[in-house]
Symmetry: D2
Subunit: 408 residues, 4 copies
């Protein structure tokens, strides 16, 4: 497979080839990696399919490099960790994060990924068992899980480079090759050799830059929240019995209140997964296009804004917006649009965003630097440069959105 | 606007900005430049929107370079030629070339582009008149039209580089900067200065390489023809009164036999354009997904093949396939699938492809090399290297497609 | 002029073209930007000539961008600041920093640059007066000087990118375009707009990375100090009347003890400058090659080590090496080489290196961030991320070098 | 070893590492790949050292790819062919082609390479015997020699890409990876698989472009011939007993008329090789700088022209310059410079250049295309596109050079 970033990507075994060919994975061709980000960066049309293969490619390199340092990774482990990284995003829904909650209450894409892996495991005669064990961090060689999901996993290394490449934000490029070459294993944990410390600093800074310049870009936030409101309105209309154009799969989620919990009941799981696996970005896009002519004025107006990229104005600040400010905006909007308070909430709304570049929940999840004398030091201490207090702090910001045409 | 290839793209005037914002142009965000090519090159998800802006960017450079050589291009002409290149693809339908004929009989995207420009001209108080004149090659400074549509237009210069970039076929990269720098104008015609001759040779060779490695890639051809057959079947079912899931816009074209001629009657033109302007790749993708469960076995099977990328095997050769060979294939297919002859035609089908890298219809359309002594020579004579007889010859190849699972 | 990094570099005026053609500037073709760094990074053969032109190119972009924000830069100022950046390194000697002190006592390359500019000013009928004023920071528009020499000058922006490019240390690449686009002017001072803060963070981190990975690379330090010792030995031999192969220009500096002070006496200045302007890397390289056969055993051994890249082992630590450790090394070396204490000092020697990534001496020399409300904040406060206490602190390290073949 | 083009280059065995460390190979650090080309393309300072390592890197890839197609290459053969490519240019003298004849009469760098390999073989206990056999094409697996020296050898693949990269002539870039991936072996001969035909076409066109845009660039030709004349004058003065500043090694070749034949007498071979192995670009550069002050007016004037890049004007045409035209130029030059006829010949001189992109002397040396049916076809027939008659024809052009300041 040809990749604009890495060149030729090799698929090393039959089962991996078959997994790539499986409809579950092929579906990822139709889900953009960065949702609506192409409204701001028109090049950002790359898909979760590409990202999955890219992560697989980096995993192959990492396995070779770690083996060359004398750590055993058996062929079975190697295949399993490659499968785990290939499928790590298999449970993502259309427009990734933006829409998950609108489709399934309390959506958890890792949980869905796990369920889809289980289903694949059934179809592939339990040949994914070890991959699932690694994915769930239940395997004793912890570093294998860390390569799939950790501070320096192949997921992040690929998406930072890939998102930089396709958005054209060249400052987000990181030294993937060098970072992987600096990886080592101590006590079954992934560590970074000391001479890689500057590369790690640069990785953390690049990641932070990508957060504020791409992932949390104001205009993208505004677009995504507009889309969230469209789905909210559609579900409300559906619950009231109104007709809505939708593919059968989307119709299923609009007209049934599916909760994450429902996926624990085996009888409903298959039905839900079956519908979920037919959903992708296209189902949402066509509905919003068609709904722009819906007779519900709220829905049609929201959809027409999105389809024609007439995005809402967004204001961001560090503290919550005061009630008086919100009311002031609502009043101005209402002068023009004459909505009920309930309807108005779709046009003037607030929310929060947050990010932490280097957060860790447990000791296992820290970047450890390995010095020549064998001592391990947390990057937070090893780097005299970075303010790790800042890196690990969750930055929370507040926003308010409202139609642009109003001068408020 | 940030572009992964050129960096920041500047929009130089208000009307151009407004045209970019117009729903007609925004629609191009939802039409991939290379249709189903991402089945082979997963990075090829770039859109006609990006290509339009890229061509605009190259046009700005070309205008500056040509002016710096002492040729007048007035601000009005400059704005007009930029508008013309921006909108040159505005009339493309979903999946570009693949589907055009399936939607409107005798489809001609340049004609549709022209009609959409006329509609925009109306909306923009005739401020696009000069742009349209240039687009139609009715303006006396012929080189302006040649920059929009000619052997070395900004369209080609952009798409070759862009398609190379996103497919990862790095050998297709051409020296855009240098080619543009070598452009000059003699007697209102675009010419290339003599020292640019090697760059032109390389451009022609790169273009040829892209044709055979990307544009006419076997697997892409197979996928596109599968899609064409799906639409053909759907239209047939529609004409027989069967119900088919479709967005209203697609429904319109499925259930009405629209011909290119119908666009000449002003009363119907607006209705057709209105529906056409709501169509994009997503409408087709969701229908093929939903139709995979249609009760018509032919349609559902074709759609399931496409959605899950179970593409048909394709054989290509220089001469037509013999009837006996076709019959042999059909017989084998039929043993398994038990179709009527009429149905079988959707699964075993032939066709032709053709390409000519440097074809010219008229003297105006040749690449002219300008020597220091002022003499102009056709590249076919100027290059002792390239076999122009080959370049200008239309290469025609024949193909046959049939389901892969059969070993024939 | 074609540049592998920026493409075509345009020379905008006659006087600048003539300065590039002048023997003083042509000499920079023969002085490598990174001295002996190519011993470690074989690609690092780029010259101060290339860097001068690269800085000029960035200056042209910066001038345009700053002008487009409404700040006046007259054509005279523009030409002057371009001349100033073009000539900012004109006074560099062979192997840049490594050798300066060996050639002229208390060497100061900025002072030499100034003297050479004065001489050029004389030859060019005082047309460089404004450039010199800007270079010396005596012009009222301080930001023009800051573009030549300051925290974010075009010198640094070019050399970081250029050194990254040619060494292949891709992590040193910075977002030159974006940083320049973020520059603005307030009260005649260069500032950075707030949305450029992440780019600045990345610039500082990249610079730090380049310091430790390239500029202060152990092996390069070892090679440079070996070369310094060679010159020291040669000067000693010269002072004792021994004959040494050297070009006339190098001979002049070997056999005359030139001090920086001597350059203040107009009678000797011209003679010194004349000889200095004939010196470049080649004079040093051939002498070290020829001296490898010199009858002085110390000189010949040092030179043979350098020519054949048998570099000394280097140890680096944060505190000074203890006298006992040094003596221990010397004793081991002496067992083999049987030198006098005076001779031994050329084979076992200590030194220090230091670096500070963001040091500022005066308030003027800080990176100032400009917020939308017009307030200026030092990057040290504006960035909650970087530990500026660390960035501004001078890191000093100690090293000891000795012949590798000894196992000590 | 870090390479700006390929990233990290791995040295796979001890003997290869030792050969890289050997003074013979280290000498290549001081010989530029493209001689005086940096007068035109300032980035072209890359060395034969870098090229040697780059070729080695491509050879490792080629060996792996060919092995993966089922062809045996034993570890011994693999090491030998890597050594052969590493050392293929070991015999190059300063400024490569330009100066060879000036230093040794009838110079043949392949012959010198062979002699230096023989000497290395002696020093390395005959461990280079197989490498030398392959280098001389005396080994039965012909394709190994073809990888070192043939139409598609690793030498060419590296230098085309490397020269493109460092000159910034991006159009010369070729698809190295893809070309190597298309290589195969039939009957011990290197062939190219049919689907690689477009890449080969592009390779040939890129090579042709590099010839005319870089290797035979007018200004470079002028500079190189100026240097040739300088050496010719210096040798004449030496033969007349005049003193000339030179390093001992250069002195040896100036004052002794060494012929290629002298290298066949073992007694003199070692002395010649010893002196030759001490020569590099630096010896020539310092002499031309110093000779700019020589009392011989011809020599000093020529040297001052070269050092300060006051290159001669060059005219190129397809047929020889007429005697009357030459006399006219000489007369004009003489009016100013008052030289004898003998002296004048250094300032006004003619010569020829030639190039053939795809020339082959024997059947073995043709690019063979391997079709799926196993048939081999010469590229000249396989490509309907390229005019191979042109490619294989030697293009010969005539030039005349004379000082620029004269308007003739």
């Amino acid at each position: 497979m040809n990749d604009p970033i890495y060149g030729f990507i090799n698929i090393s075994s039959d089962i991996i080839f078959d997994l790539v060919e499986h409809p579950y994975f092929q579906r990822l061709r139709r889900i953009k990696q960065l949702g609506l980000t192409n409204f701001v960066y028109p090049g950002a049309n790359h898909t979760r399919f590409q990202h999955g293969l890219g992560s697989l490619h980096l995993m192959e390199i990492a396995i070779n490099d770690i083996r060359s340092k004398g750590h055993e990774i058996t062929p079975e482990e190697s295949e399993a960790v490659i499968i785990a990284i290939l499928l790590h995003d298999i449970g993502h829904g259309p427009f990734s994060h933006a829409l998950e909650y609108a489709i399934i209450e309390n959506f958890n894409h890792e949980q869905i990924s796990f369920l889809m892996m289980k289903e694949l495991n059934r179809q592939f005669d339990n040949r994914l068992s070890l991959a699932i064990k690694i994915f769930q961090n239940k395997y004793h060689k912890k570093f294998l899980h860390q390569l799939v999901s950790g501070q320096l996993d192949m997921d992040r290394l690929d998406y930072l480079n890939r998102d930089s490449f396709f958005t054209g934000v060249s400052e987000g490029v990181i030294g993937t090759d060098r970072i992987i070459k600096m990886l080592n294993v101590v006590d079954d944990q992934l560590v970074v050799e000391a001479k890689g410390i500057y590369s790690i600093e640069k990785f953390l800074i690049a990641r932070r830059l990508m957060y504020w310049q791409v992932y949390l870009h104001k205009t993208v936030l505004s677009a995504e929240n507009l889309l969230v409101n469209i789905l909210k309105r559609a579900k409300k209309l559906a619950s009231e019995g109104h007709e809505l154009f939708a593919t059968p799969a989307l119709h299923y989620f609009l007209y049934n209140k599916i909760k994450m919990d429902d996926l624990n009941h085996t009888d409903s799981t298959r039905e839900i997964l079956n519908n979920f696996s037919k959903l992708d970005d296209n189902d949402i896009v066509v509905s919003t296009k068609v709904w722009a002519d819906h007779k519900d004025k709220v829905l049609s107006k929201l959809c027409s804004h999105l389809t024609n990229r007439l995005l809402f104005k967004i204001e961001i600040q560090n503290k919550p917006f005061s009630e008086s400010r919100i009311n002031e905006i609502k009043a101005t909007v209402n002068k023009r649009l004459r909505y009920t308070a309930e309807e108005l909430a779709y046009f003037v709304f607030t929310g929060t965003i947050s990010n932490n570049t280097y957060n860790y929940n447990s000791n296992d999840d820290r970047i450890k630097i390995l010095y020549n004398n064998g001592i391990l030091v947390d990057i937070a201490e090893a780097s005299d440069m970075l303010n790790i207090a800042v890196l690990s702090k969750i930055v929370k910001k507040h926003f308010v959105c409202y139609p642009k045409e109003l001068n408020i």
